[in-house]
């Protein structure tokens, strides 16, 4: 190697390789540490840690059936996480995921009950109505978060607080509708809207019991990644997120970017609401409020605002949730154990965040 150029390029490649090694090693180490701490907790609670690890593995990833359980739980989280993740790239901390999901479910059920079913005279094909439901859900969820974004941009209202409060408004609105105007009096199990026509239900992926929501979640996460990392829009968003003044000086349309990114984030959560209504509940009721939104915030932070990492983190959380039952049934651990496990895992992962660039073995050495 006489020319300096190839040498330099190998060094760059090597350092990139080390950086990606760091991205893999740190979370895995964090996970192992979390497992150790959790093992100690289980031992204190009177269970055999090794047996507990075995059960967690078996219930979450041990068989195809267990994998399906995990993936079913993971799919809504991929979408709700994007509601925090996308605005975070622009420097906003939005936690209105639950509200956007609820509004998405509402939008979808309005369209689904209005256009579909036997009462409708339009006689549209089911696919068209489903698509309309998805668009309605995404629009409703998107506009809901745009409210928080607009308050931030035009009036300087803290977007974290306003989006949090919007959650309560959305939930109260949902309760009002299902207990009042939308209530189906013949359904006694709980106050609910009328049932969607069976032709509008989202089916399951062939050969599985996983509904199509998983597929949508995966696709949308990949789209979000491309959008953020590979487009001008994404670049502008990231620039604004890094330094809003510089972005303004550079002439970036910060206001439009804020509203657009809020809309996109909200529409992802809105789609999750539509899927939950069309694939699981089949009608609108309080069961739509089951913490997918809040869990999504956690997923977004743990995945370090990377939409591809979101997929993995959502699957990890899905697996943890899937193993919650077996901890109770086979080890007589209290039902909150799974939350303890979840908390320990995420604390460890978040702590490992502070170690990036601090472990010499994982740093680029040629300078």
């Amino acid at each position: 190697m006489t020319s300096p150029l190839p040498q330099a390029s190998t060094d760059i490649r090597r350092s990139a390789w080390r950086r990606s090694l760091e991205v893999i090693v740190l979370p895995v180490a964090a996970l192992l540490v979390a497992l150790l701490i959790f093992g100690g907790f289980c031992a204190l609670a009177g269970a055999n840690p090794i047996g507990v690890y075995g059960s967690i593995y078996k219930a979450a990833f041990g068989s195809w059936s267990a994998w399906q359980n995990t993936l079913i739980r993971a799919s809504p989280l991929m979408l709700t996480a994007l509601c925090t993740l996308l605005p975070a790239r622009l420097g906003l901390v939005i936690i209105g995921n639950e509200g956007a999901l609820v509004m998405g479910g509402l939008g979808a059920i309005f369209v689904g009950l209005g256009l579909g079913g036997a009462s409708s005279s339009l006689d549209l094909p089911a696919v068209v109505v489903q698509l309309a439901m998805a668009i309605a859900g995404m629009t409703a969820g998107g506009l809901w978060i745009v409210l928080a974004g607009a308050l931030r941009h035009y009036r300087g209202v803290n977007e974290t607080i306003s989006s949090l409060l919007l959650n309560y408004i959305a939930i109260a609105f949902l309760k009002h509708l299902v207990e009042g105007p939308l209530r189906d009096a013949d359904f006694v199990t709980k106050p609910s809207s009328a049932e969607l026509d069976p032709t509008l239900w989202l089916g399951t992926l062939p050969g599985t019991r996983i509904h199509f929501g998983l597929l949508y979640g995966l696709i949308i996460c990949v789209i979000a990644y491309v959008l953020i990392q590979r487009t001008t829009f994404g670049f502008a968003t990231r620039v604004t997120g890094s330094n809003i003044r510089a972005a303004k000086i550079a002439g970036l349309p910060v206001g439009k970017l804020t509203l657009a990114i809020c809309f996109l984030g909200g529409s992802a959560a809105g789609l999750a609401g539509m899927i939950e209504v069309a694939a699981v509940q089949k009608r609108l009721n309080e069961s739509l409020i089951s913490n997918y939104g809040y869990a999504g915030i956690l997923v977004a932070f743990v995945s370090r605002q990377n939409p591809l990492a979101t997929i993995l983190v959502a699957i990890l959380l899905g697996g943890i949730l899937a193993s919650g039952g077996i901890l109770q049934r086979s080890h007589n651990l209290p039902d909150a154990t799974v939350l303890v496990f979840q908390g320990i895992v995420f604390l460890c992962v978040l702590f490992s965040d502070s170690l990036y660039g601090k472990i010499p073995q994982l740093q680029e050495t040629t300078k």
Binding site: I72, Q281, S287, L321, R329, T365
Partner: protein, 391 residues
């Protein structure tokens, strides 16, 4: 500065391949023995019936879930029964997965998803998918011909116990003003409020019940507010129908009020003021069902009734032991009412009755027996109840 060990990409790839290969090999090797291991752990012992219980909240909520969990423990005592339990399971696809893994991993052949909201669509979906597994639901409306054969429903006329609680409350109240903290205005809740009030009026015709609807099954903050504002109004006995009466009981005890409990025995929460309470008695029904499971009876073969209903007489519910504050006179009146309900002499909804808006409900010679379907559609509050169903 020591130079850290360098790993070339080639080395790393080789290492990764080797580990993967090792992993795959052990995975394949481990494949054959695992099904046997699962089979032996599933199904418990030979001939043991595995019964799965699912609760929507914690098992020690001093309320709805605790009542079922205590019943499940009683069933566990039946020889030949093994129970498995899962608490805090939300009414989403999570409960589908719980039922499925109870059946597939633990080998459960009977499932009790106890929360009202589990019934439709979740339990019905699973019942269709696993026709050989029996599903029992508390309060679900079983429709013959519509629902699968392996679905059963059981529920109790707990308003009979509320009536007895009302008798004690009416006698013990000095002001004649009673309070009722309620979740949402659905027939079951309204029926409890009305029966409680009728019980109180049977000993004190001037007694009134102030109702506050909190709007949800678990609204601890609103429940505490309602209890406090009732205390401020001069109400001196408080009853409730919410998922966990814990907050109402503790708040009322702090304010020095008498309380009438619900779902389970809350005497430990209010040792001074707890008068009595309307409790589910799932222990007797669960024990008897457990025995029938062991005998091999099933819903599908017709050995077990699809709809099981009953009140105090059938041991579906019971009245909490009287608290220390209850006078002998009140105890005697309470016992008499209980006896009259058990023997069927007393019918709670007997004319002449009118609602609290002045509309007639029952004429002088009419009555609604407990089984009357009109009572399961109730949308009115009787005269003497202050509050409205429209909130």
């Amino acid at each position: 500065m020591s130079r850290p060990i360098r790993i070339s990409r080639r080395q790393a790839v080789r290492g990764l391949l080797a580990t993967t290969a090792f992993g795959v090999a052990t995975k394949l090797g481990g494949c054959s023995p695992s099904p046997e291991g699962e089979a032996s752990s599933a199904g418990g012992g030979e001939g043991e019936v595995v019964v799965g219980f699912i609760y929507v909240g914690p098992k020690d909520d001093f309320g709805y879930n605790q009542a079922h969990a205590e019943g499940a423990q009683a069933m566990a005592a039946v020889p030949g029964i093994k129970i498995i339990e899962e608490a805090n399971v939300p009414e989403t696809s999570a409960v589908l997965e719980t039922m499925r893994s109870m059946i597939e991993i633990d080998g459960a052949t009977v499932i009790f998803p106890t929360s009202f909201g589990y019934f439709d669509p979740y339990m019905l979906e699973m019942a269709a998918e696993f026709p050989e597994v029996q599903f029992f639901h508390a309060g679900g409306l079983y429709q013959e011909g519509v629902h699968p054969d392996n679905v059963g429903s059981y529920f109790g006329y707990i308003d009979e116990a509320q009536y007895v609680g009302g008798v004690i409350a009416g006698r013990m109240s000095e002001t004649g003003q009673l309070g009722f903290v309620a979740a949402i205005p659905i027939p079951q809740v309204l029926r409890n409020i009305n029966s409680f009030t009728l019980g109180a009026q049977s000993v004190n015709p001037a007694a009134t019940t102030q109702v506050v609807f909190t709007g949800g099954w678990a609204e601890p903050v609103k429940e505490a507010e309602a209890t406090n504002s009732m205390a401020d109004q001069g109400i001196d006995v408080i009853a409730c129908h919410v998922d966990s009466p814990k907050v109402v009981m503790e708040t009322a005890e702090k304010r020095g009020l008498y309380t009438v409990g619900y779902h389970a025995n809350q005497a430990p929460l209010a040792p001074e003021g707890y008068l009595t309470g309307a409790e589910w008695d799932w222990e007797s029904i669960y024990t008897s069902l457990g025995q029938q499971f062991v005998e091999g009876k099933t819903l599908m073969a017709g050995g077990i009734e699809h709809v099981l209903r009953g009140g105090l007489a059938e041991n579906f519910c019971k009245v909490s032991p009287y608290g220390p504050a209850v006078t002998e006179e009140a105890q005697a009146e309470g016992d008499a009412a209980k006896e009259a309900l058990i023997t069927g002499v007393l019918v709670i909804y007997e004319g002449e009755l009118s609602d609290n808006k002045g509309g007639a409900i029952l004429a002088a010679d009419e009555k609604y027996e407990q089984q009357n379907i009109e009572l399961e559609k109730m949308d009115w509050l009787i005269e003497g109840v202050k509050g409205s169903t429209g909130s």
